[in-house]
């Protein structure tokens, strides 16, 4: 262990003195303060703080990810090409200890920088309202929606099955109405894609003058006297002139009403006017939730809106950002949540360090960096990559689904659980996220294991890369 630490501390010195880490540190030192002053968001104090935390955490995570990749690969491949391994690995140190030491050194550096910069971001987030002279109402809003850790639930978007698409396609074909929509020679796949999207919209749309009810079960609020938040975003078919939608909401246990009985709990009614395509929230007391954890939310689209309002998930990601309707309730503190978020970022760095160490055991510096960056960007935009190939030609799609898609789904998907997005919404980084995080560590262990295997059998004096 002593020699592992000797290698680790040497690696830290290298990253600092060879200026690799310094570049990233300077970048963060310059950009973060600029961001703290320039972040505006939607102009409100809450918006400014949300923007700063979101970009601050994302930027720190991104730059430290790049630092991890570059520094880890530089230190290992450098030792091989400049042959320091000749003197180091002929000392009483096992090769796995050496590689573990390199990885440990990078991670200790990462951890120190992550803690330092996160502390800065946290300080700005917490003392921001004082510095900007926030009033009492703003402070209350921040306390409810930002300095908190709320669990969230959202309804499943109703999807369309391939059979339904096929049936609709045949109908269109038989009615010979295809010409109305498509030019001659349009591919079947494209027509079906259009049908799918249209049907999906239909299923999740609320026409003017009609209503929709979502039911949630197992809503477990930490504090029954606390608050329940309904978060929504209006997607509209045609944008109203003033870009505002008037809405009527009812929240509570509606089951007795259906049987023609008096409700057991209070049912809260809310009327609002909100801009389209923007996330908005309203608050009601948590006693709207029934004792068994049931709560229903009814939405009424008044005829005056003269447009269809749609509630559906964007993209394939099961996160709050892509949901146009969700309920949130307090389940922890901002501080704990922030620490959890930082931990998740660190887990990513562990994965990247292991990936970089693996790549440097058999590739030269530029190739190893390239490979690591490709993997890093792929896991960072995994949702987009997966979606991009959804409507592929059947044969190619089959091959893709059984190979690359499986691999991408198996890899840690950085974009699917982005701690910055969680913190911005005051959303609880929950057990699910931590399960994912431990999955990242498992991946890191596997990558490191493969790296050690390759490195142990490598003829170090033969490397010509």
């Amino acid at each position: 262990m002593r020699s592992v630490w000797a290698v680790a501390s040497n690696t830290i010195k290298q990253a600092l003195r060879m200026k690799i880490a310094v570049v990233f540190i300077v970048l963060l030192l310059v950009i973060l303060p600029v961001m703290a002053f320039s972040a505006s968001g939607d102009g409100t104090i809450k918006g400014r703080l949300q923007t700063f935390v979101s970009y601050g955490v994302s930027l720190t995570s991104f730059l430290l990810s790049l630092l991890t990749i570059f520094a880890a690969i530089h230190t290992v491949t450098g030792d091989i090409t400049q042959r320091q391994v000749y003197t180091v690995l002929t000392k009483p140190i096992r090769r796995y200890e050496y590689l573990a030491g390199k990885c440990l050194g990078i991670l200790v550096l990462d951890l120190a920088l992550l803690v330092a910069f996160s502390a800065g971001i946290y300080a700005v987030a917490v003392y921001g309202p004082d510095m900007m002279g926030a009033d009492q109402a703003t402070r209350q809003e921040l306390s409810d929606q930002f300095y908190t850790a709320r669990a969230s639930l959202f309804p499943k978007t109703l999807d369309v099955t391939p059979e339904e698409v096929e049936a609709e396609y045949q109908k269109l074909k038989n009615n010979q109405t295809m010409d109305q929509y498509f030019a001659e020679g349009t591919s079947v796949l494209r027509v079906k894609d259009w049908i799918y999207k249209r049907m999906r919209l239909e299923k999740n749309a609320v026409a003017a003058g009609s209503q929709k009810v979502w039911e949630f079960k197992n809503v477990k609020v930490a504090d029954p006297n606390g608050m329940l938040f309904v978060r929504f975003k209006f997607e509209v078919a045609t944008t109203p002139e003033d870009e505002q939608i008037i809405s009527q909401w009812a929240v509570g246990d509606i089951r007795p009403l259906r049987q023609g009985k008096q409700p057991n709990t209070r049912i809260y009614e809310v009327q609002r006017k909100d801009p389209v395509r923007m996330f908005r929230e309203f608050v009601i007391p948590a006693d709207a939730i029934a004792a068994d954890g049931y709560v229903a939310i009814a939405f009424m689209n008044p005829p005056i809106n003269q447009t269809v309002v749609m509630f559906m998930e964007q993209g394939n990601n099961q996160n709050l950002e892509s949901q146009s309707l969700a309920i949130l309730f307090k389940a922890g503190t901002f501080q704990e949540n922030f620490i959890r978020g930082v931990c998740v970022v660190f887990f990513r760095l562990v994965f990247l360090a292991a990936l970089a160490c693996l790549a440097s055991t058999f590739l030269s510096f530029p190739v190893a960096v390239l490979m690591s960056l490709v993997v890093f960007f792929t896991v960072s935009i995994s949702g987009f990559v997966l979606e991009a190939f959804t409507f592929m030609d059947a044969a190619v799609g089959k091959i893709y689904n059984n190979t690359l898609a499986l691999l991408i789904k198996g890899l840690p998907q950085f974009d699917k659980y982005n701690p910055a997005a969680y913190l911005v919404d005051g959303r609880l980084i929950d057990a699910e996220m931590f399960n994912w995080a431990s999955w990242t560590i498992v991946w890191a262990a596997v990558l490191m294991g493969v790296g050690l295997l390759i490195f142990s059998g490598k003829e170090l004096a033969r490397d010509t890369s």
Partner: protein, 409 residues
Amino acid sequence: MDYAIETIALTKTFADWWGRRKVYAVNDLTLQVNTNEVFGLLGPNGSGKTTTIKMLLGLLHPTRGHAFLLGGQGDDPKINARVGFLPEESYLYKYLTPRETLDFYGRLFGLPRAVRKDRIETLLDMVGLKAVANRQVGSFSKGMARRIGLAQALINDPDLLILDEPTTGLDPIGTRQIKDLIINLAKRGKTILLCSHLLADVEDVCDRIAIMYGGKVQAQGHVNELLEQADKRQITTGQISDQAMGQIRDILEREHAEFDLSSPMEKLETYFVRTVAEAQQQAQPTSGAESTTRMAGFLAGEEDAQKQVLSSLVQGQTKSEPKPSQAGTRTAKSAQSTEVEPKSAVLDSLIKKAPDQVTLETPKKSEDTAAPIQTKTQVNRGILDQLVDPGQQGDATTEKPRKGDSDHA
């Protein structure tokens, strides 16, 4: 018998891109290096010396055959703990200072902090880099880097020292120092494998040598045996009268022997070392070769430092006393470097005003018979004597035994 180094039919081939074997770097090499022996591995560039060392240390895998270090494998940490290795170039971390470099390697050996600190200071002193111990190695000259390289190879007080071209890039004084160090480490029971194509280096310090070419050993044996010209005789005297010379000439003519009488030439290395040492004593300023000056100063008389290094290196070592037979060989080796050859006799006696000496010995085949290796009694005696612990070796300033007394008696 346990060998310090043993290879059995060791073979290394390098394949081309298609996996076809193209080059035999080392071919069926069987070699044994005894414990407490200075063994020289010679050969021109590309003869397989370095490849052999890399296989010994586990940096390359043999295609066939086996290589053993101290009875074990070269990649076993237990074996590594007893080995010191200086590669053909120093390969140091440029961003570390000499002190940090030695500390890093010391930590790899698991040496406690106090021991590390002690050894680092004495080693820095020994290699003459104490004054620049806090400067990053990246700014060092090749020779300075070489000195750090040597120091890192010694930090663990190794039983076996593998030196690949140790004198590359070193000035003559540094070269001389390394050779003296090798001799003295061997006296303390260490085994040294010296790999070089600089024949003078090897000749001065090695007990046995092997000459490699094309990955194979072409010749091996004791240096003295290989170089001895049994059909010739050499007489070395101090200054004698013309009358005595005439008598000797008469005797030789009566023997019908072919002979050549002249004053011996001093070796350039010896002359160089002495000149720099003298300049150093007169405290003449130098700008460029600062390290050289410092080294000369160190060689000229910073006695304590050197004693300290060696005693720290042998501390706690049970076999630090040389074995009697090997000690004999070693002493003879030292004597070889102190002897005065015919042509240097006049100059020599003028300088040191020593009593006339006569040495009768068999000359070597070496081309530079006329250029004796060393007149250490004047210039370098100080260095060697400082390296030799007076407690063990007797009075360091007394005359060393003659080669003829031990080897060829």
